[in-house]
Symmetry: D3
Subunit: 228 residues, 6 copies
């Protein structure tokens, strides 16, 4: 269940038997031919699926992340690093106050990683809190599937091309990953990446995507189970 389907009385009831909360951290940034909200849609889909099986609540997604390097691609709306980590802290503190103690952060965007350090800081301040962080695309599960099918997972390539992230027709074939050195600024990144994909196949068989999703969902369920 997402919080938007509930009122506060429902949450109060929930907290009598459970103290887990899933927080989806996303981004609004270029994903080549895919939706600008790809980094929200994927972890949110995982969260919804995990919630359906476990009944664990899902907070409204954080629709914006840290994406300074993509700011030359129209539609990328990026939070400053400092803003994002404050936002994540505020969510944790609010939920902790109500009695939530075990948090799973389902992260959809690599640029959001710095929030982990703020979460460590919080863990020293909020007694009894337990936090886990899952970035699906760097999981061992994804690595195995990529190896199995000899595919290279990368930003805005087949890896993120689920049917629910597609908003336009995808190119056939493969893109050569552009060579990149050092930290590119927004203009350099656009010059280097062109259509925004980091290279590789733009899409693969839906069956692979289903396998991928299922594997990540299994991960999520396991992490939720271990959050003890």
């Amino acid at each position: 269940m997402r919080l938007d389907e509930l009122n506060w009385m429902d949450v109060e009831k929930y907290l009598q038997g459970n103290d887990k909360l899933i927080i989806v951290l996303g981004a609004c940034e270029q994903h080549g031919y895919l939706s600008l909200l790809t980094d929200v849609k994927i972890p949110l889909a995982l969260a919804d699926a995990a919630s359906q099986q476990t009944g664990i609540l899902v907070a409204p997604p954080v629709n914006y992340g840290i994406s300074p390097y993509f700011l030359s691609y129209p539609g990328t709306l990026s939070l400053r690093l400092s803003t994002f980590i404050d936002l994540v802290e505020d969510l944790v503190r609010s939920a902790y106050r109500h009695g939530f103690r075990r948090f799973l952060f389902l992260n959809g965007h690599g640029g959001n990683d710095p929030a982990r350090q703020r979460l460590y800081e919080l863990s020293n301040q909020l007694p009894g809190i337990r936090q886990a962080w899952y970035s699906w695309w760097v999981s061992h599960s994804v690595e195995l599937i990529a190896q199995k099918y000899e595919l290279k997972p990368s930003h805005a390539n087949w890896l993120e091309a689920f049917n629910f992230t597609q908003v336009a027709e995808l190119p056939a074939g493969e893109k050569t990953p552009p060579p990149v050195r050092g930290l590119l600024n927004a203009e350099e990144a656009r010059a280097a990446y062109g259509d925004g994909s980091f290279g590789g196949y733009y899409q693969v068989n839906k069956s692979i995507m289903d396998e991928l999703f299922a594997a990540c969902l299994a991960d999520v369920l396991q992490v939720l189970g271990e959050l003890a």
Copy 2:
């Protein structure tokens, strides 16, 4: 169109002919028997409707607002004032960089008002920007309808009880508004407001709600038209 239905190429095309953007500011907070996301759902519905008629783009909603006074109601997830205003600034700066110049902030939550002052600060820094702010529930349109039907608009009463914000059965009848003095802290607010509604009828005829929505939508369209 919402950004999540588009990729960056779509936005680039859009910007060749339009520089307007609707930003929905909401909250995740108690609304009595209504959805915790009521303050997102209403302005987002207005944004979608206005977008359908005008083609103006809608950014992903800001799902969290400033709600310190409701933090004793489970499910309320509040940003600090300082976090929220930084977040709004970041969105404006990102979009401005792409070429967006005219912004309509469709605000769903009274506690978010301080962001207006940050927007004034930004207007002194970003040449050519034009910003409008619309808080639907304090509009003249709502005032007129409330007078017409002799209803008092208030937090979490009939005013916000659209069919799309209802997640539970609503009480029949009317609630006496509790007397409140000074700035209540979260615990005092819960003690004072009980179920969370500020009093008055919990619901009214759907036809009134439709009239209300239509009047606000007309306002939004007018403000968008005037954003020149």
Copy 3:
């Protein structure tokens, strides 16, 4: 009594029998033909008068507020939103430490409203604190007097033209309120408002002003009485 007439021993004695403090929040900004400190002078006059009747202490006025939109009028000295709310927090925390528990914020400037949200945040952190906020010009008392004399209260018009805020001769007659849409930046505000008044009569009979002041003072005394 204002704090500047006292030493710390006096305050220590005071705190043995009282824990109320009046904090005046003002601004240094254009007020048309009136003093740049109009927004300090009016609430400070109310504070002094209320203090005389009740003995409640008055902290030194905060001479600066949030006025980004008037920064093209020379003499306007504006604090950033973030600075102002930190300042107000610091005052409350300092006074709370000494034993003050009940605070009345006598606000003279609409732009300062965001501080209310910070005060709500503080109310969740400082046990036993009680805070009230009074912005005299939006009070029901002022509304009634305005209706009675068929006057429209507005920035830098008759509403603020007390004898103690006048520093130059005031124009006779009435100014047509300029039409304003959206959030004006500082240059646009100056272009729109010209002499700085938002329109209406520049001055009215001193008897009306006295009535106005007396009504607001009565409000202040009532709020102070209710701060329990």
Copy 4:
């Protein structure tokens, strides 16, 4: 002239012939038997006197400074270091925007010194700005007078006991300065300093105080003259 005696048109006229501004930085903190606003009153008196002779404008005093060590003395209202320096920056930036270029900071409180570093930062950002800082009590003039009369200048002793800072009868005689080592916290400071004076004579002949004031005023006039 203080800004509170002027409207914005007056300041606009002033700026056609002058770009100097005096900013008074004070504190609201214990001064033994003297007024809690002693650190405002002295530099403000100097500013007023200098203004009378030169016509240079005086901004409204900053009534609060950085006084963490006196927070166990009731009535001390202290800003955090971070707040104070932001506040000073905001005043400079606002005035600079109007065309003020030469600033004299008349400081009344030693704890405010860190603002100097922020002013240095600003001087690298605002072309053409000229800033001077005068802390009257550490001036060479005060040193000479103290030597001449074999007096030791110190916090809340004769040094600050002008007729306009006295709010109670002052003790006769001399206080032995308490031995102090390291940085005392607020409670330790109160335990060490008792009545709040740092020791020495509580008061001296008015003629010495007049000589002191005249010497400092001469300093201020000289610094203003040199601000070129």
Copy 5:
């Protein structure tokens, strides 16, 4: 050359022919039996060696990093995430002002990674800047050597046990890596990791360490060469 061996005239001369600077980012945190400054010593040794071959200047090391999770190990002195990223920004802005344009960040501590996002932000603000980031222990070179000798690189195991980081005798043998789930707070981390090593061999032959160092140095030289 390190900056501490130079005066400003030397740097001015250097900048006439070179605009590269190496900035060493470290940490002061537990490293099991190894020095608390291990994360400074290793990248600094690499920087010195690279500087000797290239003449590129080395800024004074940042001796403190982001280590909240080790704060239950005495001697760990951690900066907040927000402090660290501001510090790194200040160094870059200062050096950029002098004419430095190409920066290599030699990072010794995984917890410092969030600074990369701030560097991306800066790259959008400082025209012509080029930045590269090298975290030696996650390099492909280290991976290869670890595979070659069938060793697992980990915090405070053989990987960091150079002769210049050893301050005590190291245990013989191997430690079983403790199982860890989720984000541990400082107390949990100490309970889990005991002596502080993350497991594996505590030390290996000096010849392997020399090979490791040489490989990383080669990386550094290559990155410096590519910084064009």
Copy 6:
């Protein structure tokens, strides 16, 4: 002992019998012909010498301070005021958590003084903490030696020309101190100070420098002894 020669177990042992820590605050800024790290080297040498006699631990030096006014001298790397005070706070809080209670700040740079105010703030928050601050060059000891040899101590003149701060040959003779009024920005400072010395003799007999160092070391030992 410096922390870099120890591992965490050593610090844990130390804390069983001692709770003192020396923190060296420096700067990386122009010092005329002397090392850019002069402000680190001097207090660090004092710290090392004091540590050798007392066994008190020395934290890694803070290699950067607040030096905005020297930013036109290449090699000056300055922290913002706000960054520096946060950094100092973080060090104190980290060490306090481990059980350190008595801190001596050995400061090498005048621009770092604002940190004292943050330390006062901390002293109100951390029970049992004791902090002392020693800026060697403004000590009474230095004043006496300067008087004895009729020398004027000043930035980057003989005062700081220890053998361990020299990185180039020093000019013979004396420099006339440039006249300076007000707060100079970085460019003005460079124009005024030329080679960077504030004037006076560039160097004196090593015996005087030894006497100076010995006197300051005696001060440091006394302050450490009094930190009770």
